[in-house]
Amino acid sequence: MHHNPISIENLSYTYPDGTQALRGVNLSIRATERVALIGANGSGKSTLQLHLNGILLPQEGQVMIGEWAVCSEHLSSIRNFVGLVFQNPDDQLFMPTVLEDVAFGPMNLGLRDQELKERVLQALRAVNLDPEWYGERNTDNLSGGEKKRVAIAGVLAMNPQVLVFDEPSAQLDPRSRRQLIELLQTLPLTQLIATHDLDLALELCDRTVVLSQGQVVFDGETERVMSNPDFLVQHALESPLCYSRPYCQLEHAPALLSSSIPL
């Protein structure tokens, strides 16, 4: 595994219509780190993520993925190295059956027959989907949570070293969201998770990067930024819900509160 899978230097990107999506972004992620990428709508999260897979090429600055700079010559190595999980699984599941869809990536890698089958089964098991039951099913007839897991399996089947998620918990019910969080916790890969679900970020990631209008305005411990409501509001975000919930057990309450309650 590469020790420093992602390093971005001074990256800027402007869309053809003149919108400047990224301005001088600097970011470096170490192996097996799980990093949350948060920011308001239109802050440049998706644009940044598309750079990590070479779908957008840097206009200014440099993106290094593993030992390769993101440019058109290294695209296939980069795409094997970084797996991108899109927000809407319907955009990602384009083959008729689950098995075929998960096999799409490894087939592009040139795997065939037994090896291909092994890889697909392994990926399906990694996301807790029974290949017997799901394999031949139509990707259109799955629930949102199942679709998400098939999409993740499709990316895992390529054996990437870095997983990049765009809004993984969007449109999931609480149980599917919980299963997803548990799944992400078990995956021993470097992960960059763009999300509006700050509770998920707090639970999964020790480190958080805040993007605002295309710039990195915070890069550090998740708990530090989450406990600074003024800073969050300033960048069009809001404290995680769990910060405003009443405490179920007294020992979880902050010291100040517990000392004032007579027991």
């Binding site: 779908i55 296939s76 955009d91 990602q92 384009f94 799409f104 259109d140």
Partner: protein
């Protein structure tokens, strides 16, 4: 097309285990296409040939254990489209004049052609419907690849099959949203709104196509779909193909001396 979308479950009889189902999907496609070619290339007026082919189709119908009610429903829908073409074949000159009203005339030649084309259409549709009823779409697409149909073309068919349900759901969601805001006032207004829905559906499809392509790229797609190895055929497949060819020739032989 839209008539079919409502119940998009084509292969309701694909889980059975009849001799027809034991054939590899590519053999089923080959037999069907061969047979349809034999049907449509038969010259007009060769009724006995079609009688033989019809008998064969009926035996296939029985052999494959197709659900008749569904088959007939689909045939009825498809015939409404073909009906327009059929009407055009009726009014033409030549032969004995049977009936005339202004420029419209019905002649013996017209009737022969109408009957022939109707039979050809009926038999071909029957055979194709049996194929789609008994074979799952993914298996059909796979078989097309095995039959050396250009992979890019099959990939386009595959994504059409995959996304028609999504598009349908999206259109229904839009329609429901419009009805929720009281889209009832006038027929003209309804038509306008539905037209706009189609427009925005088209634009959304464009955006979705872009995102799907990005998702494909990010999983290593390099412009051409990958093809799996083709499994060798079994003896049953060869027998079925031979039978189809013999049947096709047998039908034509009846009119041979003429």
């Amino acid at each position: 097309m839209l008539l079919h979308v409502g119940a998009f479950h084509l292969d309701i009889d694909s889980k059975q285990t009849t001799p027809w189902h034991q054939l590899a999907p590519r053999t089923r496609i080959l037999c069907t296409v061969l047979f349809v070619f034999a049907i449509v290339l038969t010259p007009n007026g060769h009724w006995w040939t079609w009688a033989i082919y019809g008998l064969a189709t009926m035996s296939l119908l029985w052999l494959a254990q197709v659900t008749l009610s569904v088959l007939l429903k689909r045939l009825a829908v498809e015939f409404t489209f073909i009906g327009v073409v059929l009407l055009g074949t009726l009014f033409r000159g030549g032969g004995k004049l049977l009936w005339a009203w202004g420029p419209l005339q019905i002649t013996t030649v017209g009737l022969t052609i109408l009957g022939s084309v109707t039979l050809k259409a009926l038999l071909s549709l029957l055979v194709f419907n049996i194929l789609t009823l008994t074979t799952a779409v993914p298996a059909l697409l796979h078989a097309l690849i095995e039959l050396r149909v250009p992979p890019l073309l099959v990939a386009i068919l595959t994504s059409m099959y995959r996304y028609i349900g999504v598009l349908n759901a999206e259109f229904n969601a839009m329609r429901r949203a419009a009805v929720c805001r009281n889209l009832m006032s006038s027929k003209r207004w309804q038509r306008l709104v539905i037209g706009n829905m189609f427009g925005s559906l088209f634009i959304r499809t464009y955006g979705r196509g872009e995102r799907v392509y990005q998702a494909m790229l990010s999983r290593g797609y390099q412009g051409l779909p990958q093809v799996e190895k083709v499994s060798p055929g079994k003896r049953g497949d060869i027998v079925a193909l031979t039978l189809t060819v013999i049947l096709a020739l047998l039908g034509q032989l009846i009119y041979w001396p003429r």
